[in-house]
Subunit: 124 residues, 2 copies
Amino acid sequence: MKAANAYSADCPTRQILDRVGDKWAVLILLLVRDKPMRFNALRRAIEGISQKMLSQVLKSLERDGLIRRRAIATVPVTVEYSIMPLGATLAGAVDPLRDWAERNLKEVLAAQRRYDAQRKALAA
Amino acid sequence: MKAANAYSADCPTRQILDRVGDKWAVLILLLVRDKPMRFNALRRAIEGISQKMLSQVLKSLERDGLIRRRAIATVPVTVEYSIMPLGATLAGAVDPLRDWAERNLKEVLAAQRRYDAQRKALAA
DNA sequence: TTATCTAGTCACTATTGGATACCAAAGCCG
DNA sequence: CGGCTTTGGTATCCAATAGTGACTAGATAA
């Protein structure tokens, strides 16, 4: 029964889900999918990410073969990050999730309000 | 420019992605989708999750309106968790990601090996 | 001399997750 | 009667990780 085992730690889905759940990775992936971007351009686009996290996440995305890093020997060194075919397919798999989020966020928030109101009523 | 703003903290996608990236939430959602399950049945099925995390994640899934909690006043109290329509649609949106993970994990691992080998070669 | 670009490092804090112990209520054993 | 079990939690403490800001570096152009 491999299906039951899918809920143990060495499940491929879990590993990918960890990557996707990463606070920044998907954001970067989706930005880079549209067009190649430079380090500081990403930094400005995301707004809130620290240099450390950006370079860390970029490195891990590159390691996974999802994006490509290309350094250009210009005056101050320029580094361009672009999407790889593998990364593009992952970004595509994330799209349904993004659609779901946009369509259903209101309902989720409503459910949260209902839940909180009920708990408050019980506490009183 | 709302599109640029989508990469700030109040983006709905980000909120949902955080939920999906949760180490256990998706696992529980997919288990409960198949059939209603009791607390300890989930605990045994997932294997590795602590009571604390299980009850914590179940509570947040219930709050989001994704699953329903039903307590039955039996000898030792029985609690059954089942999927809600909203949760079922989310689980459906996660499926492409799971497919991607299963189809592409090998390639990701290969990319990691290539990357590590190259870095080691550079270091030497 | 100061700014720009892409990092890497240090120190600190916030958040996560695990282990452990505890609670209630009922039954069952001796 | 006391102690033990089961179910579904809660509370608390602690270690590990994640994430931040500030600082550094090196090269060069204005």
